[in-house]
Symmetry: C2
Subunit: 433 residues, 2 copies
């Protein structure tokens, strides 16, 4: 049986791994040659970790799993009736067809710019590795520019950082910029005091980390303020330019904050493949572009085609589509579930509907500061931070990466330094070769 898995993220990876003993031929398609440990991308964006430490080559992961073939390419189409996937191979751009007997699409989501894709140029997204490297160059470049800027007002704009979106990524990012400015870079400059940097975190809803209990969400806001982050709740970004971010409050007034660096971590939009699948299966997508799947995660009318992760809504026993949190554990459990469905089917067996086992929610804010909601247990401070540390190290792929990350975190913790503070091309005005 030929299984095509689209996407080497958390969901796709678990699915492929759990088919290792099945009598199947798997083709794993991804447009990048590595699995990205997305929960730590913000640490690359602030120079705490280097790109290779949170990205593991897919071929290295599946070197020994003989029933997998990795293909580098962008999936541009799916024909559910003919059971083929169209791939645009990378780096050549040549088109190819992959026939399948079973299909698993795990293409994830990205941040949406509320329909303003032109903001992307001024406020790169913090989700991909490339976004993170771009943001790293911009943040460090802003301090460099401030150091040589004689005009106070312009200097202040260089030292203002706006983080859009108060979810885990936005919160973690704002906290890290706060630490970078007050701690890591404190003694690095001669003309400016990096501690004068302003970090603004803008969130449309009434609280940060809405997936967490209210008490933890408030604690997170308090921790951020201690790191010098200004938290704007119930405020919305209405314009982004190279030199400012316009923010509207709930009473309808808006103001312009002079800021040379903006970082986008708001709005979720499923991969365009969700729409492709939805149209092919004759269904609708929700506002975030997610495709609705059956209780066994297959597409309506296509028991051989599955979609998993944060690009789907799952229909429950009563037929109502539910949105699960866009977290790695959800995608991982769904990946393993689909692998089990495929193995059972080969034996003629059936599988119960998918059920998400909620193990909790974690977010870190800075040194010794984190919040954790583990099966109703609300943790904060040191205990939450240690939990966060262990969980992230445990799930990080690759023995070598784990060792290096432990080493980097230990050295950073002791010296307050960050080893990977490089400005490389991709930054705003930084020239390349």
């Amino acid at each position: 049986m030929r299984v095509v898995v689209v996407g080497g993220g958390f969901g796709g990876l678990q699915c492929v791994k759990h088919l290792r003993r099945a009598a199947v031929e798997i083709t794993l398609v991804d447009r990048q040659n590595f699995h990205l440990f997305q929960p730590l991308v913000y640490q690359v964006a602030t120079g705490a970790l280097s790109a290779a430490e949170i990205a593991t080559p897919l071929r290295a992961i599946f070197k020994r799993q003989q029933n997998v073939r990795v293909v580098l390419g962008l999936v541009t189409g799916v024909d559910l009736d003919a059971r083929t996937v169209t791939v645009q191979h990378q780096p050549t751009g040549d088109a190819g067809q992959l026939p399948y007997d079973a299909l698993v699409v795990s293409a994830g989501s990205r941040y949406s710019y509320f329909g303003h894709d032109d903001w992307r140029t001024f406020a790169p997204e913090l989700k991909s590795l490339e976004g993170a490297l771009d943001i790293r160059s911009r943040i460090l470049g802003a301090f460099e520019a401030a150091e040589v800027e004689p005009d106070e007002e312009r200097r202040r704009a260089w030292l203002t950082f706006v983080v859009v979106g108060g979810g885990p990524t936005g919160v973690e990012m704002a906290g890290q910029i706060g630490e970078l400015a007050r701690d890591t870079l404190r003694k690095d400059f001669r003309s400016i005091d990096p501690r004068a940097a302003r970090v603004l975190l803008v969130e449309t809803t009434e609280g940060l980390l809405t997936a967490f209990p209210r008490s933890l969400s408030r604690k997170a806001a308090r921790s951020l303020r201690q790191l010098g982050v200004t938290v704007f709740l119930e405020q919305t970004v209405v314009d982004v330019t190279a030199e400012s971010v316009s923010i509207a409050t709930s009473d309808g007034t808006s103001r312009s904050e002079p800021a040379r660096t903006a970082i986008w971590a708001a709005g979720v939009e499923a991969s365009p493949l969700a729409t492709v699948l939805s149209v092919a299966a004759g269904g609708d997508v929700d506002r975030a572009g997610r495709v609705t799947v059956e209780p066994d995660l297959s597409l309506p009318g296509h028991p051989e085609a599955f979609a998993i992760g944060d690009m789907v809504r799952v229909r429950d026993a009563t037929g109502v589509a539910q949105t699960l949190p866009g977290l790695a554990p959800v995608a991982m459990q769904q990946g393993r579930y689909v692998a089990r469905v495929l193995r059972r089917r080969a034996d003629g067996g059936r599988t119960k509907p998918f059920r998400y086992a909620d193990k909790g929610n974690l977010a870190t804010i800075g040194r010794l500061r984190a919040v954790a909601d583990v099966k109703g247990l609300h943790l904060s401070g040191l205990v939450a931070w240690l939990t966060w540390l262990l969980v992230h190290l445990f799930y990080l792929i690759g023995f070598q990466n784990r060792l290096i990350v432990i080493l980097r975190w230990t050295v950073s913790f002791v010296t307050h330094g960050r080893g990977a503070r490089l400005i490389t091309r991709g930054g705003d005005a930084s020239e390349s070769r």
Copy 2:
């Protein structure tokens, strides 16, 4: 006294460090925010090390040295009479002026394309970090393209790698691609056998590593052949396109080798600042664009302005300009020498002319394979390799980097793997965000 140091490479860094107790105000200008450990750049190009491991932020290096100010910018002009340096600040592009009482220019060199700058697009240089990341994406992307290429001839072109230049960088690079193909990637693909990859090393002169004794140069060629590298001596690249490299032999005939990946490590050209200084001081540059400096490394007629490293030729006691090898130890010794001259002058003392203390020459070819010429002692094999290992770890800047590099090398050595095999933007056709 205001000292302006241009370039945070080996020479500039040593000069600034050895002025740490002097009563001077130093401004260190570099267009990048990090010091690059250039001898290991080829390891980034083959995924053995990650960028941050061989690049240390200049601000981190000089955090505690209070008499240094780091400025990020490109030096676009030097006025020797007015004693000012013109800087184009990064990332803003704003122009600035830096007045000085003493100037030290250590701007290095780059590879020349024999006047064919259009080849640069198809054969990126292996000297900068960005060049290395580009090359890494291209090499890995070529294997990816070969894996899905049905046509045998085209597949063969994807699996052909041409390294131009038989100096240490070219030799090390060719050896590493050989190991990557025969060892690291051996089990990573399903359709192709990476061991079928051809690595061609093209050198214009009659031997590799011309700075080494003849016997070691022959040993290096033999080691490379054992790694599957084809060595073409007394042959010259006469054209490079996206799909082929044309090579001419000494008898005047030329042939075209179908190859999708070419890497440039040939021809040396001093930084354009050498010409700027030469013109300003009323002198000539040599064929490689180097400026001639006095026995004390100052510019003729300008005892307060120095140039060091591989952008200069040094006049000896008899007035003849000598070219020293373009190695890190030369630049480092010159940087320390100039710092000493400046310190002595402040005390009213004089300094003997600069003399290069040749400590030897090292090049590695692969696992357990290296050549070393240490004060006339000709080493090869394991002893040379261990010497190479220790010397490079010793000179690598930053405790954290040293630990991580030891860890990566150990893991690579044991597992035959390479941790940083990422295809990121900058590669040939690989799309970005």
